[in-house]
């Protein structure tokens, strides 16, 4: 409907105002991000993390050296085989709950 306030220039102005209002949020975020979204790490944390990573590297390499000779996979297999082959030792003094022995008591 044609009203006194409805003409192309006012429409175009309203369109631009709408675009500006919406993009204003992004513009504000962009200019405030250096103050709010700080990506840099704390300097003390950085120094300490370097030291800790150095220690970790030393420990890992020392451990790898020791394990290289020991061949842990072979010993795991050996231990598992001996557990399977060993017979369970019967202990008559231990009463299993629900067993006939416990029920007869």
């Amino acid at each position: 409907m044609a009203s006194p306030t409805d003409h192309p220039i006012r429409r175009f102005g309203a369109f631009l105002l709408g675009l500006l209002l919406i993009s204003l949020f992004g513009i504000v975020c962009f200019f405030s991000s250096p103050f709010l979204a700080k990506g840099e790490q704390d300097a003390a944390y950085e120094v300490n993390s370097k030291r800790r990573l150095e220690i970790k590297k030393q420990v890992d390499s020392a451990q790898a050296e020791v394990l290289k000779d020991l061949q842990p996979e072979a010993s795991f297999k050996q231990a598992a085989a001996s557990m399977i082959s060993d017979q369970a030792v019967a202990d008559p003094s231990a009463i299993v709950p629900g067993s006939p022995t416990s029920l007869n008591q």
Binding site: M1, F30, A37, G39
Partner: protein, 496 residues
């Protein structure tokens, strides 16, 4: 209603018809595609819910158990994101652009652009859903679409909403109606919340805790500053329209608007209670969630007392019934917000299923119910056809109400029980994990009800989209006045 011009009734009817005709295609497109996405979202919701209590998916084919497409993390993310952006946003757009055009008496001159933007929006949602299901989701709650999607959504939104801002500027007459306040605010709040959140989470380098905080703020403000205002704006328009009575208290309506505007932006950080962030942030969020009761009860009282002035209309009008249900659930939302955000309540429910119940109450119980009422009002006017079946409308209403009330009850009650078990440090954790079993099962059953209700709604809407509705001189009512036909005699739809 919104203008102080000197138009005759006949001239006003002609303008309304022009407005409806100009917006037929974009609004029906938003409603119909939104309803399709709602059905898809509920399907994923059912899968995510089933997997919480039955991970082996005993009753369904192995495909659902073994396929990574339906892993619970992906199914849940797909469910929520499609619910919010596929259904919620599109339904809101349809209502917003129609309401603003009607209230400003300005036919749309950019329906083609809006329709194109709507297609772009749907394409982005589809890409986002595929991204989530194939494991490319971001993992940030309610922002799980791959990062290439959100700029497209924002661009589409601008192309949809900016024309309503133009219509508001060039409207005839100086007075505004309360619905326009809510719609204008929602139109400007959405880009603020959406753009700033996505920039700080995905674009700017920031501390991970800040990312978590921004995400928590986004989730609360998307509900309080977009979905709720659109729904409340629609309720304030529909209630006096259908009842023929003025709003109970216009001053109360203005007060409710400003209360929401002041309180809403502070909510969200309560989700990070206990996190290593400044103490005042989660407490601020808790206070805002509690104070939300003020605008909730203001709107609820205003709408329901207005309806009470015309008690003969409520049993018959589908629109009023859905709006009444949504308004009652808005007050319930405010009350549950208090229960979940007292210090004891938050401690117990922070890591439980209660939060999910609150979110579903807000999005389905309040927003969607009122928007369904708006859809039942708007669609006959833009298609010039009446709804085919009052039975379908009844099924849609009652199954939705039963479903959402069951989900909310199970989630909130189950959440408190889970939280109580979590707080019992001397008991095994398994106790807390299994406490929620019955309630997640109840939630699954409720989602099945809602799925059926929305399939009925989608079918009904598709028939209207194909213009297979009845040409009738009075609306499809829930109880018929007429012995021979529920629709009265043949004739043109009254577009008032």
């Amino acid at each position: 209603m919104a203008t102080d011009t000197n138009l005759s009734n006949e001239q006003d009817a002609i303008i309304r018809a022009e407005v409806d005709r100009s917006l037929r295609h974009p609004v029906m497109f938003f409603f119909t595609s939104g309803a399709v996405w709602l059905a898809i979202s509920i399907f994923f919701g059912m899968i995510a819910s089933i997997k919480q209590h039955d991970p082996d998916f005993g009753l369904l084919p192995d495909f659902f158990k073994d396929s990574s497409l339906f892993a619970v993390g992906r199914a849940y993310a797909a469910h929520m994101n499609v619910l919010l952006y596929g259904w919620g946003a599109q339904a809101a757009f349809g209502v917003m652009i129609w309401l603003m055009a009607r209230l400003t008496r300005q036919p749309s001159r950019n329906s083609g652009v809006i329709l194109t933007a709507g297609h772009l929006w749907n394409l982005a949602i589809a890409v986002g859903l595929i991204g989530i299901c194939t494991g490319k989701g971001t993992g940030v709650s309610w922002m799980e679409f791959p990062t290439c999607v959100w700029p497209v959504l924002l661009l589409s939104y601008v192309l949809i909403a900016v024309w309503s801002l133009v219509q508001f500027q060039v409207r005839d007459g100086s007075r505004t109606f309360i619905s326009q306040w809510y719609l204008m605010a929602a139109m400007l709040w959405f880009p603020w919340v959406f753009l700033s959140s996505h920039l700080f989470v995905f674009v700017f380098e920031g501390h991970p805790l800040m990312t978590a905080g921004v995400n928590a703020w986004f989730k609360a403000t998307l509900v309080f500053l977009f979905f709720i205002p659109v729904a409340v704006g629609a309720a304030y328009y529909l209630t006096p329209k259908v009842t023929g009575r003025a709003i109970y208290s216009y001053k109360l309506a203005i007060f409710g608007f400003w209360a929401l505007a002041v309180i809403g932006p502070w909510a969200g950080m309560q989700k990070l209670a206990g996190a290593p962030i400044p103490h005042f942030l989660p407490y601020m969020g808790m206070v805002a969630m509690i104070l939300f009761m003020i605008p909730a009860i203001t709107v609820g009282v205003n709408i329901l007392v207005t309806m009470k002035k015309a008690p003969e209309v409520l049993p018959y009008s589908p629109t009023l019934r859905f709006v009444a249900a949504g308004s009652i659930l808005l007050v319930v939302l405010g009350a549950i917000g208090i229960a979940l955000n007292t210090p004891n309540g938050l401690r117990e429910t922070q890591f439980s299923i209660a939060g999910y119940g609150y979110e579903i109450l807000a999005i389905y119980g309040v927003f969607s119910m009122i928007i369904f009422g708006a859809i039942y009002f708007i669609v006959p006017r833009i298609t010039v056809r009446e709804w085919l079946s009052s039975r379908f409308i009844n099924w849609h209403f009652w199954l939705s109400v039963y479903g959402v009330v069951t989900i909310v009850f199970c989630s909130i009650f189950g959440g408190f029980l889970q939280g109580e078990a979590q707080e019992a440090f001397d008991k095994p954790w398994m106790d807390a994990a299994t406490r929620g079993y019955a309630y997640t099962l109840g939630t699954t059953i409720a989602w099945h009800f809602i799925f059926v209700s929305n399939l009925v709604f989608l079918l009904h809407l598709l028939l209207m989209w194909m213009r297979l509705g009845r040409r009738s001189q009075h609306p499809t009512l829930l109880h018929s006045h007429h012995a021979e036909s529920p629709h009265g005699g043949e004739g043109f739809v009254d577009n008032a």
